[in-house]
């Protein structure tokens, strides 16, 4: 384990949204805006904006990092730009009322099928199934999150079937 890997998560967090130069073993160097540092492997994820509107993402593995030098701070505009890079895709936009209707319809259907579901999060927009799976708006199979793969795939299947019946 090297010095970089030994840093604390709060330390790594200070590098996010900064332009850095990463010195790696075998004399490799990588420059870019820090999107994140993986707390498990201490790998640094860098973004470089190319001329043709494309973004190049480089991931330097933690075990290969010798030094990270901050070159400059990102301004608010850059922070906004960086946060959008991996942001989950916005699918069809629903109005708040439509979203609420979808949420309530799904919640009712789950309850009718004896599946425990609660609302959580700020403004209660997230559904929580059996305390182990969450569903974000717009409440499709893609918006399900869980650390249990079996429950995840079962609930995704249920929701898929429910949505198909709605059509």
């Amino acid at each position: 384990m090297n010095d970089w890997q030994r840093k604390s998560p709060l330390d790594w967090e200070t590098y996010v949204n900064k332009m850095v130069k990463v010195a790696a073993i075998e004399k490799h160097e990588y420059e870019g805006w820090v999107l994140t540092v993986d707390p498990i492997s201490a790998s640094v994820v860098l973004a470089t904006f190319l001329e043709n509107e494309k973004v190049s993402i480089s991931v330097v593995l933690g075990h290969a990092i010798q030094d990270v030098e901050v070159l400059k701070e990102g301004d608010d505009e850059m922070k906004q730009r960086l946060s959008c890079i991996f942001a989950p895709e916005e699918s069809k936009a629903y109005s708040p009322e439509e979203e609420e209707k979808r949420k309530n319809a799904l919640k009712t259907w789950l309850e009718t099928n004896h599946i425990p579901v609660t609302e959580q999060g700020e403004s209660g927009r997230t559904l929580c199934v059996a305390g182990v799976l969450t569903i974000d708006p717009p409440y499709g199979p893609e918006e399900c999150s869980s650390s249990n793969e079996i429950i995840l795939s079962r609930v995704q299947g249920l929701i898929q079937g429910y949505l198909e019946k709605q059509q």
């Binding site: 790696a24 492997s41 290969a64």
Partner: protein, 117 residues
């Protein structure tokens, strides 16, 4: 044959933290061990990890260049990464011996990788 004598169960007294089932994460001792910013550190870990996982998801299916040791570079299509950061699974790995339909690259052998969004 004689009946085996059951072994007596030794019940230890409760520990000072009250919860005698083991180290309690909320005990003053554990907080002192972690440092005062335990909660904040965990919040930072979660946020950093979530962004990293979304980055991995974004890499899936994209042509990726892997920079290995000794100046070796290989191109492949990013497949998946595992939880313990042991290996990467890739498709269509181009090697001097031909294209491997599916392969594993050890994380210890990979220095960096990059792809276009």
């Amino acid at each position: 044959a004689t009946m085996p004598v059951p072994v007596g169960v030794l019940r230890l007294p409760r520990g000072p933290d009250g919860c005698s089932r083991g180290f309690s994460p909320t005990s003053p001792r554990f907080q002192a061990l972690l440092g005062g910013d335990a909660v904040a550190a965990q919040g930072a870990r979660a946020a950093l990890r979530q962004r990293y996982l979304r980055g991995l998801a974004a890499a899936r299916g994209r042509p990726t260049r892997f920079c290995l040791r000794a100046g070796v570079q290989v191109d492949a299509v990013f497949g998946a990464a595992d939880v313990e950061a042991v290996a990467f699974q890739v498709d269509a790995l181009r090697t001097p011996l031909g294209v491997q339909a599916a392969a594993l690259l050890r994380c210890a052998d990979v220095l960096a990788y990059s792809f276009l969004l």
